[in-house]
Structure formats: structure tokens, C-alpha cells
């Protein structure tokens, strides 16, 4: 299992239109895994590029919560796109031109083109709040490629042919829209990109700060200053000395037996012009041992920096489930 990227909150999509966040209706996201579902009222948003580079084959998994009322169509949930396009061009999945059917789309920055859609009896139930899992497999993105779409783990739709978009030669970013033109609600969460089959993944757990950590060397140190569900740049923790740690305890994993192939830490941060501390390192405190990744040079405006850890940086071996709930997030100035 090689995880290429993951995310599920506004911090993970710093590019494009404004994110709308729903925290109130747990039917639209799995509240033992996520704090919220996200959506756009217009436009679309996209992530930072995958740290391992672009792909032409791979998998994208995500959860979609919705309530369309009378049903709708031509809805675009999320996609694998190209960051250089600057407009979320690439391959998307969502609902087709027929109500209650799933569809596979290309998007060229202006127009969504429906490549294929399901034709069975309504695959989506629009009458009640729903939360579904979508897995998308892309094989050989280009003029002769294949897209397979799975609905709650079951095969639903395939398209083979020209899946290329003009000017887009590969895919390196996740985008989402999830706007219901009929006025219903659509929210996405737990987005994961992998080089291998995502159907076996249980999901993406948001382990947000939920308490003050062992070391709090920054100003405005309480965890509540940097754990909002919705980005709030009016409140932050801050420091202007290098080598200072700021730590917070984290929300536990759900109950069950898990293996953890990837951990991601993301921070929305800036460094003021002329500051002494200008870089940020992200890591964890595992039982008193602290390890951080390479420094990120920060910009003078708030932006997202993120690090991916396929192993525990404090031990250099696979993450151990029994240690996960005791981890603390570590921010270190540099």
C-alpha cells in the first residue's frame, strides 16, 4: 500500500474557491473519522501536489454525504487533476446527466464532459441523508485509458477510451466541487490517493488537537488557538525564536484494530517579513521522543504546509496502533 496523498478539511485545499464546511449533520460524514464534510457553493478547490510527484495510474477514494431531496444530476464530487492547469482540469467523478446515476467526467477548466454513467435502477437514494464511499481507479491516463468507478466497494461503472484533457499530461492533485445545482447538500470527506487499490482502506481519521501538549514554548499556546475546524486566521499561536516546540494532544482513533500506512500533518502558517524564525518543522512527540521533518520555508501570507510519514519518525518503523492515541503533534520553529 503506497499512499500518495490524503486530506479532508479546508486546510488541505488551499487553492480555488472558498470551502464550505458542515459540522452539524453527521449523516453527511462519518463523525468517528472526520470532524466535518466540505463543499463549494461555486467553483472548485484543489490540494497541494502529491509529494511523490504526478501519476498516470492510481486510485482515489472518498466519502460523499448528500441529500438531494427530489434528486439532481450533473454533480461533480471530486477528481484527480493537474495543478499546473490552474483550474482543476483532469478526471472527475460525480452524478451523471440522469438523476440518481453515477458518472465519469473530464474537465478542461471550462466544461465538464460526461464520458459514461451508470444505467441501472437508481444507484443513489436521494430521499434521505446518505453517506457513500466512492473509489476510482485510473489506468494509463491519456488517449487510451480506463477509469473504473466503485460504489460502496462494488463495481459500478467503467470507461475505456480517450480520458485525456487538452494540456494535461498527468495528474498530481485532488480537486473537489460537490456543489448541488438543485440546492441540496453534498459534502465530501476522507479523500485518499494511492498507487494501489483503495477499496481495502477503512478510511481517513482526523486526529485534530484536543488538548495542550507537554511542551508549549510558543506564545498564545493553548491548543484552541490552532485547532479550529474552519480556518480562522484571526487567531494563531506564534513564536519568533528558532528551535521552539509547541505540542498538542490529539483526538483518538476510532475503536477497532487498524494498521496505519500513512500519517499526514498539515499546518496553516506564515512568517512575518524580517522575522528571526522563518521556517516551520512538523512532527510528533511519541512518549517523550520528538521527531520532526525537514523545515518548510514559510511565506508572508498564510498557506498550507504538509508532511507525510509512512513510518513513525521517532522510531523509523511502522506506526503502532497502540501508540497512536498517545501521540502529540509537534510544531517546531526554525
Amino acid at each position: 500500500m503506497s499512499i500518495l496523498w490524503c486530506g479532508g478539511e479546508d486546510i488541505d485545499f488551499p487553492n480555488g474557491a472558498a470551502v464550505f464546511v458542515d459540522t452539524t449533520n453527521a449523516n453527511f460524514f462519518r463523525n468517528t473519522f472526520s470532524r466535518c464534510g466540505i463543499s463549494c457553493s461555486t467553483g472548485w478547490m484543489w490540494s497541494k501536489p502529491f509529494p511523490g510527484g504526478s501519476i498516470t495510474s492510481g486510485w482515489l477514494s472518498g466519502h460523499v454525504g448528500y441529500n438531494h431531496g427530489t434528486g439532481t444530476n450533473n454533480v461533480h464530487y471530486f477528481g484527480l487533476v493537474n495543478s499546473a492547469s490552474g483550474n482543476a482540469s483532469g478526471l472527475w467523478v460525480g452524478e451523471g446527466s440522469t438523476s440518481s446515476q453515477l458518472g465519469i467526467y473530464t474537465f478542461n477548466g471550462t466544461t465538464f464532459t460526461l464520458l459514461a454513467q451508470t444505467t441501472s435502477s437508481p444507484i443513489l437514494n436521494n430521499s434521505t441523508n446518505q453517506s457513500i464511499k466512492i473509489d476510482v481507479q485510473v489506468i494509463s491516463y491519456g488517449a487510451s485509458g480506463t477509469v473504473n468507478l466503485f460504489f460502496n466497494g462494488a463495481f459500478a461503472l467503467t470507461f475505456t477510451g480517450n480520458i485525456a484533457v487538452s494540456g494535461v499530461s498527468n495528474l498530481d492533485t485532488v480537486a473537489f466541487q460537490s456543489h448541488d445545482p438543485a440546492g441540496g447538500n453534498i459534502w465530501v470527506s476522507e479523500l485518499i490517493v494511492s498507487s494501489t487499490d483503495t477499496r481495502s482502506l477503512q478510511g481517513l481519521v482526523t486526529m485534530a488537537p484536543n488538548g495542550n501538549g507537554t511542551t508549549q514554548n510558543w506564545s498564545n499556546p493553548a491548543f484552541t488557538n490552532f485547532n479550529p475546524i474552519v480556518i480562522n486566521d484571526a487567531n494563531s499561536t506564534f513564536v519568533n525564536t528558532t528551535g521552539q516546540d509547541e505540542q498538542a494532544t490529539l483526538i483518538d482513533l476510532p475503536s477497532g484494530n487498524f494498521s496505519i500506512p500513512m500519517v499526514k500533518i498539515a499546518a496553516r502558517a506564515l512568517a512575518t517579513s524580517g522575522a528571526t524564525a522563518t521556517n516551520l518543522k512538523l512532527g510528533v512527540n511519541n512518549g517523550g521522543t520528538v521527531a520532526v521533518a525537514s523545515p518548510h520555508a514559510l511565506t508572508t501570507g498564510f498557506n498550507t504546509v504538509e508532511d507525510f510519514f509512512s513510518t513513525d519518525p521517532t522510531t523509523s518503523v511502522a506506526w503502532v496502533q497502540s501508540q497512536m492515541n498517545g501521540l502529540q503533534l509537534d510544531l517546531r520553529s526554525a
Binding site: 490552532f226 487567531n235 494563531s236 499561536t237 484494530n257 522575522a275
Partner: protein, 66 residues
């Protein structure tokens, strides 16, 4: 003067905190010092994610060789 990054500060309060009057020069260093070190790194949101495989209690399978 208790502030964090992004907190609004009125011009009158800022001049008072800096012990300056309107029209006097204020250096960036003095301003940041007065604003209690908002100069430097500011983090407004941080989160950790874990990708998980498995979920429900898994049945362990054993093979007995006799």
C-alpha cells in the same frame, strides 16, 4: 496590550501602547515588540490525519498442526 496575529488594534490604542503620538515614527521592531511577538511564525490551524486499514475487531486465524 494583549494581541494575537490578526487581532484588530485601534490606531489610538496602538499609539498609546507604543508611547507615541500620531505623526511620530514607529519602527517595525518596536511595533512587533509591542504586539507581543506576533513577528515570526504564526500557525492558525494544524491537524494530523491517519490513513487506516482494518476497522472492526479482526478474527485471528490459527492453524493447529498435530
Amino acid at each position: 496590550m494583549s494581541t494575537g496575529a490578526g487581532v484588530n488594534v485601534s490606531k489610538a490604542n496602538a499609539y498609546a501602547a507604543l508611547d507615541k503620538s500620531p505623526g511620530e515614527n514607529v519602527s517595525k521592531a518596536n511595533l512587533y515588540a509591542t504586539l507581543e511577538k506576533t513577528a515570526g511564525i504564526n500557525v492558525s490551524k494544524a491537524v494530523m490525519y491517519a490513513v487506516v486499514i482494518g476497522g472492526t475487531p479482526q478474527i485471528q486465524q490459527f492453524v493447529c498442526i498435530t
